[in-house]
Amino acid sequence: MNLNELTIKQASDGLRKKQFSVKELVSDCLLAIKEKDRDIHSYLKVFEDALADARKADEMLAERSKQPLLFGIPLAIKDNILISGQKCTAGSKILENYTASYDASVIRKLKNHGAIFLGKTNLDEFAMGSSTENSAFGPSKNPHDLSRVPGGSSGGSAAAVAADLCLGALGSDTGGSIRQPASFCGVVGLKPTYGSVSRHGLIAMASSLDQIGPMTKTVEDAAMIFEAIAGDDDFDSTASKIERGKNEFEVPENLRGWKIGVPKEYFISGLDERVEKIVKSVVAKLEKAGAEIKEISLPHSEYALPTYYIVVPSEVSANLARFDGIRYGYREESGRDLFEVYSKSRAEGFGSEVKRRIMLGTYALSAGYYDAYYLKAQKVRRLIREDFERAFEKVDIIVGPTTPTPAFKFGERGDDPLKMYLADIYTVAVNLAGVPAISMPTGWVEEGGKKLPIGLQLISKWFEEKKLLGAAAAAEKVIK
């Protein structure tokens, strides 16, 4: 077995027992990237100096065997999270040559916990998309079937984890961008509670929804990265100061006493029959493991996508106003006056989905339309949140499919934005409500001779990640 195939927990134990060195672990990852990533294209940039970092870590380990949580663990980072001195493109031509001047807070925290960075992973431009087809630098491919998308926007991170090209990765999730690719690639992806993890140094898409989270091979690994990056931060006033207590990860012995809710609105037309069958069989297994299964209702589910496609473009149009060809990023040289510098740089620098969302958001926020669109969507957003509040009075965890179908083929949905948006039908409500959710591998379907993974989504109450991860770990045992 090559060391890059280990889980974070296994590698962490192996390093401490001196079964192998950090250098050997990082070398195996870099070698695997060299061998496989020409086909998969999960990385936009690989850090060759990761080996030098590994050597330094080995010296530290020789001096002192007690080391922090993620000591020596090689991770991949989505390329919309800043690492000081490294390029950060957000998958966009407009930032092709931008170098970050500071570390994102999550990067600072991971460095403090001893992690090593292997490189930056591919994404849909500015995290807008569900397939990585919107990346200005070409799409990533699904390691389970190279003719299919890895999902998005954190598709590069998901593919890198699935193909063992890192031990774990960071993604970001605004409407499903961690969970949907995790589902398509057969890995674990956690979208923490809004406010659990600092967004400082994450290139903003929709600020009231964006959240950084881990993508890993196991639930326990996700818990380890979450533990390292969670918590308040001076540089993000929405990063909550609430006392979270010891976040120590525990796998419950069984699920006796747990109430698990299954929303009836999640099993409607559009859901692939095979996905439905797999999810229902897992629910039956959870019941066998002692959980009490309850049918619940989230009555505003069908309004989540329309709400999302007003709230997000509106925030996008404001956040992306900073890309003006003046302070950083791409500039079109032929602009004759200030207005043309802006409009030509943005015309050349942005791809079509980004332009579409900026245009839609600008319209929704423009004089005369604000009340009809943005304000209306914010009111419906409140009702969506209240659906979850009421549901969590009755149950501890909500389960359902992460996506309605397995990974789709390249080009299949490219022309029709609305068709693409449907890939996120089960994930967007979670971001609108702000609750945490995790997607984990739960089974396989066969298509064209290839086995494609199916994801299960578990949702919990605000700031109850510990419970969520525990339930997911218990489900992991039951599924095996």
């Binding site: 931008y98 001047s101 500071y102 570390d103 809004y194 406010g195 600020s207 009231s208 929804l209 001076d234 006033s237 929405t238 909550s240 505003h300 069908e302 309004y303 996508l305 329309p306 709400t307 496609y309 007003i310 149009s317 003006d324 060809g325 003046i326 302070r327 950083y328 791409y330 500039r331 004759r336 006056d337 200030l338 207005f339 510098v341 409009s343 943005r346 015309a347 942005f350 079509s352 332009k355 579409r356 900026i358 245009m359 839609l360 600008t362 319209y363 423009s366 669109y373 304000l375 209306k376 969507a377 914010q378 009111k379 419906v380 957003r381 409140r382 009702l383 934005p417 609305l418 702000g434």
Partner: protein, 98 residues
């Protein structure tokens, strides 16, 4: 809600994005389709519902008016260096007044 070419041009002006005719056509169609889709929100009765702003229930997070970010200390040259056009330590822009 159908978005005509004139409206597309007005929004593009507000958004500071130059569009060619093919893009204007495509965006007119795409935006009309998306607005029709989000029109579904009108089915929802939102009388007496407070809009949900931001992602948290936090209000007025305050701190002392002191510099806390030391990450960018001494990096002014690097920050100016990121600009596409600069001169003598300043970012250069086209004339604002004609």
């Amino acid at each position: 809600m159908s978005i005509d070419k004139k409206t597309v041009e007005r929004i593009a002006h507000l958004a500071r994005i130059e569009l060619d005719d093919i893009e204007k056509d495509k965006l007119g169609k795409d935006l009309s389709a998306i607005l029709k889709f989000v029109g579904k929100l009108n089915e929802v009765d939102t009388k007496n519902v407070e809009p949900m702003t931001g992602g948290t229930a936090l209000e007025n997070v305050l701190r002392d008016d002191k510099q806390i970010d030391k990450d960018l200390q001494g990096k002014s040259a690097e920050l100016i260096g990121a600009a596409p056009e600069k001169k003598d330590g300043w970012v250069k822009v086209k004339a604002v007044f004609e």
